[in-house]
């Protein structure tokens, strides 16, 4: 896997986001490095405040003006951080489509649904009115809107949250993007609707052969729907790797704790839910060492002093930043765990 | 002629007064920005000048010639803003005008505050017909340009200092009443009001002791811009020739009487224009500053 690899779509290298405050710079995200291959689904997991949304905003170049993004965010070989505003606008919506957390506020109530879907394709692909309309209606029916033609001409207030999120997905797909980012796209929806939307996203990713990033605080969401997993904690990447491997054999203590907090089907009913004691560190005073040290059962003195570097697996696909990792299990154990979580 | 943007401010304040703080909370003494310092300073200076104008040593009398007519400003006390077409000191006339204007507006505001606050509190406390009457009055005044109301009165009873005070007074009663009403309604079922009631306190006592103190901040913040509006209205009427009768100096009247000579002596109008614009600006700035602090405080609760 080299930098110019044709199979790499998104290549983030040492990405940091710093907020300028009256008391000096505040690092919200530090040294985030990962790669996303084409046609691959990546899950980004972390508690609120871990820096998930900041990372996405940084990738999209949508950070507020008081936040500085440093590092390299390569999209198809072009660096999004260094590129001029106009070039970035030409990529957003075209190569990258995004679905946001709250469908109720993501659609402009004053603009017709159709307009909101085809404005990107008319801008980026220079489609004519009729072409864009035909494409938008096809998209609406693909995302499961019952009356796509009617929906196209309607204003958004007519639709429920789930329907609105489907419309938002159609909007994000208007230019056939190579990457679809879903930022907590189901968090605001009813539990019954959440699964439908996730299944839809997964299906679309397969059909359209695009890459996808699912951002979530909920491990269950990414379990069977992503190929790779990136775990963020306190503004840092603490573990990444193929989803199955991370699930089966987490190496970072935080990932392990997170996994054991997910209710599992193979445990007897009424088993007490495990939780992680303590709270994530305040970005105002993050410790010098590992951000998880204060809550970590295995923390040693040096965990508090210095930030552990990435340790890589034998094949280099699974990495974790921990001085006292969870011991790697034997082959038998891996299979058992993978079965239990799927 | 009152700046109509005040209506919007008034709405904000109605909303703000709906979130009363405990009676102990006061507007904290703020850190002021440069232009706010200027505004408070200018108003303080103007009030001082208006009060002390008769005893300022060496200041010429406003209605007697002091030097040559229509002189440009020069570096002396009486000539600082020049002289008018009758040779009178413009500075002296501006300061005496300030006394007249501020005096009239102060009385008018006192009338409006006293009646408006009382009516508004009763309307908010007892609701029913009192509230409907207060709303009707406020709606009526809001639908007429202030100048038209006063002109209609002047057409019948003629213009005098007393007419002007009363006429300006009735303009703002509705605004004050609405703010007081909103504040009372928001407090009616607050714990401290219910507690006072449970202890058998009389309505009058509840209104005066429990509710009134919480209305003060919102009312304080709306006074400066409304006073500015009254100053503009009074100035407009004087400008049109329906203000307090001459020879009493007034800013609007001074501007009006200089307009014929404007092409030859444009500097004549500088003094009174500066006086009224700076006064209105300062009062609006003070009002904004108070309203912002009030909102900040409510947000922090």
């Amino acid at each position: 896997m080299t930098g110019g690899d044709q199979d790499i779509l998104l290549d983030c290298e040492a990405v940091s986001c710093t907020l300028a405050t009256s008391r000096g710079p505040l690092a919200l995200l530090k040294d985030v490095t990962f790669r996303l291959g084409r046609r691959t689904a990546l899950g980004i997991v972390g508690e609120s405040g871990a820096g998930k949304s900041m990372l996405i905003k940084g990738i999209m170049g949508l950070t507020p003006s008081d936040i500085t993004v440093a590092g390299r965010i390569g999209l198809d070989g072009e660096d999004m951080v260094a590129m001029p505003e106009a070039r970035k606008r030409a990529l957003l919506g075209r190569k990258v489509g995004m679905v946001f957390q709250n469908p109720m506020t993501s659609l402009n109530p004053f603009v017709r649904v159709g307009r909101q879907i085809d404005e990107a394709s008319r801008l980026h692909l220079r489609l004519g009115k009729a072409e864009a309309r035909a494409r938008a209606i096809a998209l609406l029916s693909q995302v499961g809107i019952p009356d796509p033609q009617e929906c196209y001409a309607e204003y958004p207030h007519r639709f429920s949250g789930g329907m609105k999120q489907r419309i938002m997905i159609a909007t994000a797909l208007a230019c056939e993007p190579e990457l679809l980012i879903a930022d907590e796209a189901t968090t605001a929806l009813d539990v019954t609707v959440q699964k439908d939307i996730l299944d839809l996203l997964q299906a679309l990713q397969g059909q359209r052969r695009m890459s996808m990033i699912l951002v979530t605080h909920n491990l269950a969401v990414v379990a069977s729907r992503t190929d790779e997993l990136l775990v963020l904690y306190g503004g840092r990447v603490v573990e990444y790797g193929p989803t199955e491997r991370v699930f089966a054999a987490p190496r970072h203590r935080y990932t392990e704790a997170l996994l054991s907090a997910v209710p599992r089907m193979d445990e007897p009913a009424h088993t007490r839910l495990r939780t992680i004691p303590g709270r994530p560190p305040d970005p105002q005073d993050r410790p010098a060492g590992c951000p998880f040290a204060a809550r970590c059962p295995a923390a040693e003195e040096r965990c508090r002093q210095e930030m552990p570097g990435m340790t890589l697996d034998a094949d280099g696909r699974h990495g974790f930043a921990c001085f006292v990792p969870v011991p790697a299990p034997g082959p038998g154990a891996t299979a058992a765990r993978a079965e239990a979580t799927s | 002629m009152t700046a109509r943007s005040q209506d919007i401010k008034a709405q904000d304040l109605e909303a703000a007064s709906a979130l009363p703080a405990p009676a102990t909370a006061r507007l904290r003494w703020p850190r002021l920005k440069g232009f706010e310092w200027f505004a408070f300073g200018f108003v303080a200076l103007l009030i001082a000048a208006a009060v002390l104008v008769d005893v300022i040593p060496g200041l010429a009398r406003p209605n007697f010639p002091y030097g040559d007519f229509s002189q440009p400003p020069e570096w002396s006390l009486n000539g600082l803003l020049g002289t008018d077409p009758l040779g009178r000191s413009i500075l002296s006339r501006v300061l005496h005008g300030a006394r007249t204007t501020l005096g009239i507006v102060a009385v008018a505001t006192a009338i409006a505050l006293a009646i408006g606050m009382t009516a508004g509190m009763l309307a908010g406390f007892y609701r029913g017909p009192v509230e409907r009457a207060v709303d009707l009055y406020a709606n009526t005044m809001a639908s007429l340009p202030p100048i038209l109301v006063i002109l209609a009165l002047i057409a019948v009873v003629g213009n005098s200092v007393l007419t002007m005070m009363l006429a300006l007074g009735i303009l703002d009663i509705g605004v004050y009443a609405r703010i007081a009403k909103g504040g009372v309604i928001a407090q009616n079922d607050r714990d401290y009001v219910l507690a006072a009631r449970a202890m058998g306190a009389s309505d009058a006592r509840i209104l005066a002791r429990e509710i009134l103190p919480n209305l003060v901040p919102a009312l304080t913040a709306i006074v400066p811009p409304l006073v500015a509006g009254l100053i503009i209205t009074e100035g407009s009427l004087s400008f049109l020739g329906y203000g307090i009768p001459p020879p009493a100096p007034s800013w609007g009247g001074m501007i009006a009487s200089s307009t014929d000579l404007l092409s030859r002596f444009p500097l004549l109008v500088v003094g009174p224009i500066l006086a009224i614009v700076l006064t209105v600006y300062s009062l609006n700035t003070i009002g904004d500053s108070l309203a912002r602090r009030l909102n900040d405080r409510n947000r922090n609760l």
Partner: protein, 320 residues
């Protein structure tokens, strides 16, 4: 369903609240003449009036009747579109008012249009970069503009454009039917003077509104689609900010009517303001009463239109 909607209900409520206001104002206007020291007829005719003159005036205008009776008579005539005759020229008040109102409305609408054209686009520019240098400068400039009374504006702009630059006529009015270009020229100074305050006020309100609309999620979505700033402003923010601008347009009607008194008297424009001033001088009660009534009607109608405007702008309202 349409009548259930909040905006339409608000419009209906506005009308319902307007009726008592109208009655109060018109009744007060009728009662006003009773406040006159001595009698109304005496006030109108002056010290030297003969008893015969007073009797004939009372016979024609009913100033000796009880207020209630006089008010009901006036209301009865109003229903038939009769506002009475002016005191001196004995013209029908309604016709006179119609002519004068046309002039005032022309000036008011031009001023509103000009202020919107200046204030709203500027707000769109600065709202996308709040706190920037232009933004700060404009906030300072507009807070001064809002502090300048109209009677100062007319003197300063009149001096500048009519005396120093000699671009525009200082006084007078040319009717549109006689000379359209001359009409615009004679309207220019009055319109400019009324626009100083209005443009600043439209700027302030729309800037604040745009700043808050730009915080909306759907604006972030629009940015994520790669839309350029001007498209986001025009397509996504503009309509959302309209209701607030509309409210200020409604409020500005009272300001513009009040401003017309100053502007029309200073530039000798025969509109409503000018008419009121001459009616005050001559104690022409029928004219004053008609103008007070007209003002209230304008106010109620304008705010009803504002409420209906909200309903038109907001797609969530379905106007059947």
């Amino acid at each position: 369903m349409a009548s259930d909607h909040p905006y339409l209900k608000a419009a209906a409520r506005r009308l319902a609240a307007g009726v008592p206001v109208f009655l109060v104002v018109t009744f007060a206007a009728t009662a006003l003449s009773s406040l006159a020291p001595g009698s109304a007829a005496q006030l109108i005719l002056g010290e030297n009036a003969t008893p015969e003159q007073i009797a004939s005036l009372n016979a024609q205008y009913g100033y000796n009747l009880p207020v209630i009776e006089r008010y009901l008579l006036w209301l009865g005539k109003l229903v038939r579109g009769d506002l009475g005759l002016t005191l001196y020229s004995q013209q029908p008040v309604a016709g006179l008012l119609f002519d004068r109102a046309a002039v005032t409305f022309e000036i008011a609408f031009l001023a509103m249009g000009l202020s919107l054209l200046v204030g709203v686009p500027l707000a769109m520019v600065t709202a996308s970069r709040p706190g920037g240098a232009i933004d700060k400068a404009l906030l300072a400039v507009t807070s001064v503009m809002l502090s300048i009374p109209t009677f100062v504006t007319v003197v300063v702009l009149g001096f500048l454009f009519a005396i120093v630059l000699r671009w525009l006529p200082a006084t007078g009015w040319v009717r549109f039917a006689e000379d359209p270009l001359g009409n615009l020229k004679s309207a220019a100074l009055p319109v400019l003077c009324l626009s100083v305050h209005q443009a600043a006020s439209f700027y302030r309100v729309s800037r604040a509104e745009f700043v808050s609309v730009l915080q909306e999620d759907y604006v972030l979505v629009a940015r994520a689609k790669g839309l350029p700033t001007h498209t986001i402003m025009l397509r996504h923010a503009f309509r959302a900010a309209m209701p607030q601008v509309l409210t200020v347009m409604g409020l500005s009607m009272t300001y513009l009517l009040g401003g017309s008194f100053i502007v029309e008297s200073y530039f000798a424009v025969p509109g409503i303001g000018w008419t009121v001033l001459s009616a005050v001088n001559s104690h022409d009660f029928p004219v004053m009463q008609a103008i007070l009534s007209l003002t209230v009607v304008i106010f109620v109608v304008v705010f009803m239109l504002v409420d209906l405007g909200y309903a038109l702008i907001d797609p969530r309202v379905e106007v059947a």
